[in-house]
Symmetry: C2
Subunit: 254 residues, 2 copies
């Protein structure tokens, strides 16, 4: 199978001129020419072009791309791994920028104005601590989430049934404590909260007390979670939230 410049250009979403350029600078050379001098690209050339386009998209100068691809010590798998890592970094950066724009919008609506430092944080070299903290707040891109993904991907159906049962068991005991009039900040309720925390740590991701406290706050702030607990028993959302936060305070104090 072979392709002409035009065909490859359409296939790869670049212009013919770009392919001419890559040929000229020796970055992607057609492995053959027809008798009339037409460029003829084969499968390996496509391979190469694909790699080039990923690195290009990532902002590498073409010369560096060439040295990367011509390095005999780097096998294709290594390139893929590197590209994967870089793409994920870019994802994080973009996500941080989304967060920054959202923050700006919110500040504007509330009549607050951000400090210049806050406003340019995201443009730095991408490694200011503030930026890191912001990223952490966006679930779905935290280390905990990644950890959770890694662990849960290995779970079988039986595991899930067991985990769900475990969770519902603690919820039931929380509801019972509430019904019995046990105060939410009593040691008994805090013990239940601690059990809840350890369940999360065991089954999903490391959940230190501070993170657990964050979850607790969410149970009363996010309607969806509130609804979940309210359906089990009225007042349970706040009860669990209080117990979890009391437990977090106890553990960080003690």
């Amino acid at each position: 199978m072979s392709w002409t410049v035009g065909e490859l250009a359409r296939l790869a979403g670049v212009t013919v001129r770009t392919l001419h350029h890559y040929d000229r600078i020796g970055l992607v050379r057609p492995s053959e020419r027809t008798s009339a001098g037409y460029r003829s690209y084969d499968l390996r050339d496509l391979d190469r072009l694909q790699q080039v386009l990923v690195y290009r998209e990532l902002g590498f100068p073409l010369e560096e791309v060439a040295t990367l691809l011509d390095d005999p010590d780097a096998d294709p798998a290594a390139h893929l791994r590197r590209q994967h890592r870089l793409l994920r970094e870019r994802l994080e950066r973009t996500q941080a920028m989304v967060a920054a724009v959202e923050k700006e919008m919110e500040a504007r609506q509330m009549g607050i104005s951000l400090t210049p430092e806050e406003r340019f944080e995201v443009f730095g070299d991408g490694f200011s601590e503030e930026y890191q903290a912001e990223a952490e707040e966006r679930w779905c891109d935290t280390e905990a989430w990644a950890q959770s993904q890694r662990r849960t991907s290995a779970y079988t159906k039986d595991d899930w049934v067991r985990i769900k049962a475990e969770g519902e068991d603690v919820e039931r005991r929380f509801a019972a404590a509430l019904a019995d009039g046990v105060p939410a900040d009593s040691p008994a309720a805090m013990d239940l909260a601690e059990e809840h925390r350890q369940q999360i740590s065991r089954n999903f991701y490391d959940c230190p007390p501070e993170m657990h406290a964050g979850l607790g706050r969410m149970y009363v702030e996010d309607e969806r979670f509130t609804a979940h607990y309210e359906q089990i028993a009225p007042g349970l959302a706040e009860y669990v939230s209080t117990a979890v936060q009391a437990n977090a305070a106890r553990r960080s104090a003690g």
Copy 2:
């Protein structure tokens, strides 16, 4: 408060030369000069530079950035909304590229080789159907998800309780149908599936039959959803999945 070029450059993460350039082309002009001719930037200039940097990051040519920012009909909030949308689009694109690289890695490990079309899908103009389909599969970044976010953010606790009850009602009737031996591809079961689909469309996001079919597949492929249905009744996951897909086929056929 005012800043010199060097200070602003450090703050914003750009070079002094860049600020000189922006001044020259009239994109970001310091609102004052000292008696010695030094550039002196004030808060509004920072504002402007920030906007410029976001648009630049998004790949706009500087001249277009200038016309965008100098458009008197576009208020700051409009810019923020536009930037937010564009950043989310970029997020999608990057996510698609991550997915593509992962696919390539997997194919390599399994000794499969992808077709050239598959391999370049992601580089098109960003609007090939295949790419769209791939993106759709990565939940958490689809239009449907965005829609869902918009709608659900307005729901109260009572709404959530009602929605959950509605959902559980359909699930119970599915379980009953299964217990009664009603075939999963019978009209009765398909009617339940249709009700399920309309519930999603009403409460969360437009869910056309094809998307619904995708959800149906997930119920048997993703352990977490399987566990959910299996806990209600053994075999329910596959039952619902089959009914949903049969209904989708019926609706697209009829």
